[in-house]
Each structure stands twice: as structure tokens, then as C-alpha cells.
């Protein structure tokens, strides 16, 4: 959950550009609701119970959770207004996460550049 708390700052940075953070997991909406409440998260936590989106993005970790269910490989995609993926990070080990400060730096760098 620490990773979601760290995303608050990233969310704020994106909000200044009318954008946002949006999170996908295989948790149920109820579980996501608890997490959002407990950690006071301002961004959406979406539930992919069928793992359809996780699979479409190529991020399935079969039986990855301690109770043996399929979950997502941790990953982040920065998406521009036209749907272009500008930057991504995909974890190789369970503990790999980009530093939120680095993500903010990337946002400032990539989004200030005019794109053709």
C-alpha cells in the first residue's frame, strides 16, 4: 500500500495539468473502497476482477498472490491526452517501484516537450 500513498504526490502533479492517477488491481471494489478510505486516496482504484485488462496489458502474474490467485505485475504507464504511452515502468522483482519523485520529474520533462 505504501506505493499508493507515494502516488498522492504524483496525482497532485498531474491534477495541475487536469490529469490524474488511476490504479488497476484484481481487488474487488469493496476492498478498493476500504483501501481508498483507509489511506485517504483521491484517485480512482479500478477493479479488474476478470483480469481482462491486466491480461490485455501483458501484466499477468499467475498465482502471484499468497492465496494463489492471479494478480498484476506492478507497472506504470504515463498516457498523454491522445492515448499515446509516453513512459512506462514494469517491475522485475516484487519490490521494484519507481520513486514517485522520479515519476514527477519524468512528468515535468516529458509533458513540457511539444510533441510532433
Amino acid at each position: 500500500m505504501a506505493e499508493l500513498v507515494g502516488l498522492r504526490d504524483v496525482h497532485r502533479e498531474l491534477e495541475a495539468r487536469r490529469g490524474q492517477v488511476v490504479v488497476v488491481s484484481s481487488d474487488s471494489p469493496q476492498d478498493s473502497g476500504d483501501v481508498a478510505l483507509r489511506y485517504d486516496l483521491a484517485f480512482h482504484l479500478l477493479s479488474d476482477g476478470q483480469r481482462a485488462v491486466i491480461r490485455a496489458y501483458g501484466l499477468m502474474h499467475p498465482r502471484g498472490s499468497p492465496d494463489g490467485t492471479d494478480i498484476a505485475i506492478p507497472a506504470q504507464f504515463l498516457i498523454d491526452r491522445d492515448g499515446t504511452i509516453l513512459w512506462r515502468h514494469v517491475a522485475r522483482r516484487i519490490q521494484d517501484r519507481p520513486d514517485p519523485a522520479d515519476v514527477i520529474r519524468v512528468i515535468r520533462e516529458v509533458l513540457s516537450k511539444p510533441r510532433p
Binding site: 498472490s65 506504470q76 504515463l78 519490490q95 517501484r97
Partner: protein, 192 residues
């Protein structure tokens, strides 16, 4: 106190120096500070020790090594909660630096304790520290490995559109989000 503590340390100073051998003074703090301790150690080797005679109070001498091997265990066992407490700091989470530094310090302290005092429990504690470090490294570097993402993922240049229920059960489409402004789409492992 001084004689019993300082003599063995001087004898094996050469072997244990790379990790800093807490010879004199402050055995609890010393292993964490290599350089100053090394200096002290060299001096203590040069200085003639016999100045302090064996007027040690009988009960005092075993107390110090006992604390030392307990410290080693605490460092080793404390590494796991320390890692969990520091999860917020991304580079510590990714590298495990703080936890491994603590475990390594625990191993060194445990070894020093075992060298000073060959008691069975002290040796077992030292072995336990080594085992914990090995298990920690195994868990961190081998067991934590995730399966490689599907190659599909690296070829994506455009977001794949989807609509999913949010934490209140309301349907949200990705496009409706990114069309408003730049969006960071995050996949995470869930709340467990």
C-alpha cells in the same frame, strides 16, 4: 575488565579488521563505524596493554560479551521490521540497503562475540545471524523475482481502452480520464 576484553581483540585484530572489530571502548557501537575503530585498534596494538592489571570485578566480564551477541541477534531480527517500516522510501524498498546493512552488522557483531567467547549459545547466535542473512538474500533476490511481462506490453505505444468499476462501483473508462489530462495508469498487486 580491560585485560580480558582487550587482549583477544588485539590477537585477532588483523583478521577481523575489514568489518571493524570492536576491541576496546564501546563494543556495542563500534562495528557500525569502521574507520575510527580501525584507528583505535592499531593504537591499541601498539600500546602495551599490561598497564591494567586483573583487578576486574568477577561478575562484570561475562556481561559484556553476552550483550554483544544479543545485539547481533537484535540487528539481524530487526532488519525485517526495519525494511517494512521503510517501504515508503523507494530506493530502500528496491535495494533493501537498510535491512541488509543491519543484517550484515548483525553477522559481524555475532562473529566478534563468538570469537571472544566460545560459549555454545553465542556460537549458535552467530550461525543464526549468517543463516538469516542468507535467507534474506534468497528471498530478496531470488524468490521476489516476478515473471517477465508479456512481450505485448513492451510493444504498446497506445493505451488500450477499457472500462472498469471504481472503488464505489461506478464504471470509469480510461479514455474519459486521459482525454481530460495526462494520466498515470498504475497496476498494483492488490491490498493484501
Amino acid at each position: 575488565m580491560r585485560v580480558a576484553g582487550a587482549l583477544p581483540a588485539t590477537v585477532h585484530a588483523g583478521k577481523t579488521l575489514p568489518h571493524g572489530c570492536p576491541g576496546r571502548g564501546n563494543p556495542l557501537g563500534a562495528p557500525l563505524m569502521d574507520q575510527p575503530d580501525r584507528m583505535e585498534q592499531t593504537q591499541s596494538t601498539n600500546q602495551p596493554v599490561p598497564a591494567t592489571p586483573a583487578t576486574v570485578p568477577a561478575g562484570a566480564q561475562p556481561a559484556r560479551p553476552a550483550r554483544l551477541h544479543v545485539l547481533g541477534l537484535l540487528l539481524t531480527l530487526g532488519a525485517v521490521p526495519a525494511y517494512l517500516l521503510l517501504l515508503d522510501i523507494a530506493w530502500l524498498r528496491a535495494s533493501g540497503f537498510a535491512a541488509f546493512a543491519m543484517m550484515f552488522a548483525g553477522v559481524v557483531v555475532g562473529m566478534v562475540a563468538a570469537r571472544r567467547e566460545g560459549r555454545r549459545w553465542v556460537r549458535i547466535a552467530a550461525g543464526f545471524n549468517v543463516m538469516m542473512l542468507a535467507l534474506g538474500a534468497l528471498a530478496f533476490f531470488v524468490l521476489a523475482k516476478l515473471p517477465a511481462a508479456d512481450p505485448v506490453q513492451s510493444e504498446l505505444t497506445q493505451a488500450i481502452e477499457f472500462t472498469l468499476p471504481d472503488e464505489r462501483g461506478e464504471a470509469v473508462s480510461l479514455r474519459s480520464m486521459y482525454e481530460r489530462g495526462p494520466t498515470l495508469l498504475v497496476f498494483y498487486r492488490g491490498h493484501w
